[in-house]
């Protein structure tokens, strides 16, 4: 089974379409959505249509903090630009989209794998896994051997060592990494719709369960078109700018 892991699409239709096309060329069997389908970008409804269609075909999907925020509630923990985008998105989506979002679980588990947007340690707290400490807590909260997460907007991997310490690895795009059976792996998929590692190309991860490998891919897409839509929609300018710079 070859699974394309899409995290943090953030209503970026151009990036989503480019990654879907890339993953299909790579011959994936299915997609898994690691949350934050919405927020920041200008195409919430079009993106949800695509994702909902694939989820209807059996693709796993989990809920992200931006998805939940679109359904209502206070936004104190978010930046002003993020809040503006959430208020705007709430106006765009209808009951159909709300029902779909409300039906998304916080985690999906299958075999020795777990899909979750942020840390599996109290997933509703949306903890960023930004160091060994958070990664350790994440591993402790689940028995899964491979944990797929998003939220961090940067492609990274943490893995266990026989001595107990955790190690961080920065994957090289396009290079299949064998996920040794004798370790546990926490895979941060990178962001489809808003990369923040200085590379504006969209990012997703491809897990090949039969071969036991994981490959991060970078996919160039028309970021200018996505940025122009953000500006036309009257969303904060910085949200357009960061798609161009990848920061």
């Amino acid at each position: 089974m070859r699974t394309a892991l899409f995290a943090d699409i953030h209503s970026n239709l151009e990036a989503l379409q480019a990654c879907l096309a890339h993953a299909r060329r790579e011959g994936v069997d299915r997609f898994a959505f690691l949350g934050d389908l919405l927020g920041y970008g200008a195409d919430p409804v079009a993106c949800l249509d695509i994702v909902a269609g694939l989820v209807g075909e059996g693709c796993p999907a989990v809920c992200g903090n931006h998805d939940l925020a679109c359904l209502g509630g206070h936004l104190e923990s978010m930046s002003y630009a993020a809040r503006d985008a959430i208020y705007w998105t709430r106006e765009q989506i209808g009951p159909r989209e709300r029902d779909f979002l409300a039906g998304l679980p916080l985690t999906v588990a299958e075999d020795d794998r777990l899909f979750v947007h942020a840390s599996p340690e109290r997933p509703q707290e949306w903890t960023y896994i930004v160091g060994e400490e958070e990664a350790e807590q994440a591993f402790a909260a689940t028995g899964a051997r491979i944990v797929f997460v998003g939220h961090v907007h940067e492609p990274l991997l943490y893995f266990t060592t026989p001595g107990g310490a955790l190690r961080l690895f920065q994957p090289v795009p396009g290079v299949p990494l064998p996920l040794s059976d004798y370790r546990r792996w926490l895979v941060i998929a990178g962001a489809v719709g808003q990369p923040r590692d200085g590379n504006p190309a969209a990012c997703y991860a491809l897990h090949d369960a039969a071969a036991g490998t994981l490959t991060h891919h970078r996919v160039p897409y028309d970021a200018q078109a996505a940025a122009d839509k953000i500006l036309s929609a009257g969303l904060p300018e910085q949200l357009a700018w960061r798609l161009i710079t990848g920061h």
């Binding site: 028995g143 026989p162 990494l177």
Partner: protein, 492 residues
Amino acid sequence: MATDHRTLAPASASGASNLGEGVLAAGTALGGFRIRDTLHEGGMAVLYTVEATGSSEPPPFPLLMKVPKLGFGSHPGCLIGFEVEQMILGRLKGPHVPRLVASGHVDGAPWLVMERIEGESLADAAARAPLAAAEVARLTGAVAGAVHDLHRQNVIHLDLKPDNVLFRADGTAVLVDFGLARHAELPDLVEEEVRRPAGTGAAISPEQLAGIRSDPRSDLFALGVIAYQLATGRLPFGAPSTLGAMRRRLYLDPPPPRALLPDLPPWLQEVILRCLEVRPALRHPTAAQLAHDLAHPEQIPLTARADRLHRAGPFAVARRWLQARRAPAPAAATPSLHLSRAPHVMAAVDLDDRRDAMAEAMRAALRRALAAEPDLRITLVAVLAPQPFGEESAPELEHSRQTAALVALRHWARPLGLSAEKLRIHVAEGSDPAGLLLDYAAAHHADRILLGARGHSALRRYLGSVSARVVAEAGCTVTVVRPSESNIKIIP
């Protein structure tokens, strides 16, 4: 929110199966293979000869199964080394590594099946040492070529020793045991686990002793140890087992080989002692350059290393001891990055082409390469047409034609002001210049071939376009050079 996932603890090294805890009996079936007999029982793993029992067509080569020892009290490095080997072997291609066929595990106890190399081991040759200089050069050159192929694939072996080199029937060197190897694009599983430097006491490089596992020139140090051993029958630094004893190589140089064997040619000592330099930057920049030197020993520039007959005195040792206390310079980030700074550029010079503009355009291209690639090697190659039948081809005349060409090539290179270390020259003779250039490029790991566009010399009219065939058939980049004024002419 409650999650519903199956709890799956990572497979533990002390797995439930007895695989890896003893020696398997002949006839045991495992993962589509049947064990024929035990080939070798080492400290870390047991090797078996196996045959494929699956329904699909078996691979067209003999097979070997490796099962790490995982029983009670086994070394924790066993499993890590196995993981590393499985990870890296699966990524390597070409004739210089055994092909990985399959891998798997039984209740957490792993096995892998790979191609079995049936030829001699370098350890067999080492047992016959001291060997003749030409034999040392041939064997070390073959291993260096294999090491370069590994480095080109972004992998450093880091545990080269005679036991880990086998030869195919045609003499091709094959590197085995990648348990300590490093792939620049994959996580380093060795580094984290081993609190003391990983390697073999006899051959570990000074930078590995400092925990650096990213410098491809560490393998060149090990090649120097191998060449020393083949040439003298002794190990340059003995076989220490403690870190303190291993660190002595940072300031105590080995006895010069010529002090042990006065008849050993100076060029061989030059090569060996250069490989054994403490600072990686003083060794050959690439294994390809080492192999190239060993194939053309008469062109190796001799330095003070070649004549040394004594080990360094106490003052030099004291100075090095102080230097060794400072951290070594960081290495290039990856083997491929390192190799990109040290390409082998082969320039085909047509000595019949009298156009100064062409020679100048070729030299300008070489100057640009020199500026961009500081550790490059340039080999100038000229091809002489064979003497027509009927004419005198006495050996003396032949020799003088060769000498004249060598002199002409050196003269051609003079304006470049190259150091002796960067320049090599080669004169070939034959009626198929393109074929000769292509063979030389393949045999000596050329990264780029530079040659002039078709000119108007009698030779070229006779032979047709050499450049077109080299461009079509070369395995590396080919640059066809045109002087700028002829460039203007061909634009309509």
